[in-house]
Amino acid sequence: MANDTLAALVEWAPALLVGLGQNVLISLTAIAAGSAAGLFIGALNFSPLRPLARLWVQVFRNAPWLVLIYFTTYVFPFEVHLFGRYLAFPDWLKVTLGLALPASANVAEILRGAVGSIPATQWEAARSMAFSRAQVFTQVILPQCFTRMLPPWMNLYAIITMGTALASLVGVHDVIDTAQIASNTVNRIPFTVLIYFSLLALFFAWCFPISRLTQRLERRYAFH
């Protein structure tokens, strides 16, 4: 019977991997969108629009991610009228937006922390070389921020990847949904046990190397 169970797992493996691909796609898109937005909002911290940035960060860092995902899933229409055509607004994209919101808030905070960790002497040196404020940022501060932001940013990516598991709760056909379908189809207890623990293994296989890499980068670029 063990052989049957393993055979069933092997049979479902391709579907599981496709499902995992859905999760990875969501995570990559979410971190990309979230980082772009987060860098912009983080930059607002140093402009007169600072209260807006603070508000955005406060709201989206204190919100449960599941609630935000429900929000984007239910609020956005299921199709969009664009350029005279109806485009389907897929569920996974809504989940991506739902994850991009807290991602942007976190990236904004990471940027704020990185800029704050640069010694005041750098600013003084740059300004005494007659750089404009924007130039100080782009030529001196931001290049130094990059390495300091890398470890927490990678950590954020790992957390977002684990957050994509919530997509299954709003009907996205991801790896968890695939596992549930498989479990109901095969309908044997040993297989159910195996497939749910395989889910753990799949996410672990994706996230653990990232967290290891993050630790190595932290040791290299730590600034405290």
């Binding site: 449960p64 599941l66 429900y70 790992a158 968890i176 159910t192 749910y196 889910l199 753990l200 653990f208």
Partner: protein, 244 residues
């Protein structure tokens, strides 16, 4: 009381927000019950996670590999897999096996499983923070304790642990704020927490945005409360000569 409620709902209706579900006693009760359930989840999971965190941290810094290695493996696996998947493994798999084995004698409710899973998950994060705190206690301070003839357990309880706790406090408080948000996954296994109750209401009344506002306000307030408690603790456990 009813008039005040009516007036309030009318007022916000002017902004286009539909809070008429508040007139229905059942929906109101369900939401209040959900809020209380979330509070109970937060409290139980917070205490559970701190207990797990302390135990794991001691195992992590233990010189005995039979303790340190399984603890390390547990922390790595827990921190690198989604909480939802861990909840499914606990509720859909372990709980099912348990029910098969003991039938109706299974003492674990879905609420209990959520508390267990979140305690273990956040406990792993606490453990990392406490481990760093334990290792940050200077060896010379422990040496001084040894020179006063403290036994190893006494050194741990009276010197190493109090100092580690003070070092790790900000990280622990951040973890607990995350924990408050994490309790929302209870809705995935149909525990009637505030998220689940809100879902039930908005699928009936189609007022997603209104419920979102309430939900975000509720979780936000809880987060602020945990933050305030954390800051009060930091002030009480202050140690002149260190940090802020």
């Amino acid at each position: 009381m009813n008039e005040a409620l009516h007036a309030l709902v009318q007022a916000v209706a002017g902004w286009g927000l539909d809070y008429r579900f508040l007139f229905d006693a059942y929906s109101r009760a369900s939401l209040v019950d959900g809020a209380l359930t979330t509070l109970a989840l937060c409290l139980c999971a917070a205490l559970g996670s701190l207990a797990v965190g302390l135990g794991l941290a001691c195992a992590l810094v233990s010189p005995r590999p039979v303790l340190a290695m399984p603890a390390r493996a547990f922390v790595d696996v827990t921190r690198n897999t989604p909480t939802l998947v861990q909840l499914y493994c606990a509720f859909l798999v372990l709980n099912m096996l348990l029910t098969q084995a003991v039938g109706t004698g299974n003492p674990f409710t879905p609420f209990a499983w959520v508390v267990i899973v979140i305690s273990l998950h956040k406990g792993a994060f606490h453990a990392e923070a406490l481990r760093a705190g334990l290792q940050a206690v200077p060896a010379t301070t422990l040496e001084a304790a040894g020179s006063l003839a403290f036994s190893a357990p006494q050194r741990f309880i009276y010197v190493q642990l109090p100092l580690a706790l003070r070092f790790a406090l900000p990280a622990l408080v951040n973890n607990l704020i995350d924990l408050v948000k994490m309790t929302a996954i209870a809705s995935a296994i149909a525990v009637n927490d505030v998220t689940y109750a809100s879902i039930m209401i908005w699928t009936q009344s189609d007022n997603v945005i209104e419920m979102m506002v309430l939900l975000l306000a509720f979780y936000g307030a809880l987060g602020l409360l945990v933050n305030a408690i954390g800051r009060w603790l930091e002030a009480r456990l202050r140690m002149p000569g260190y940090g802020q």
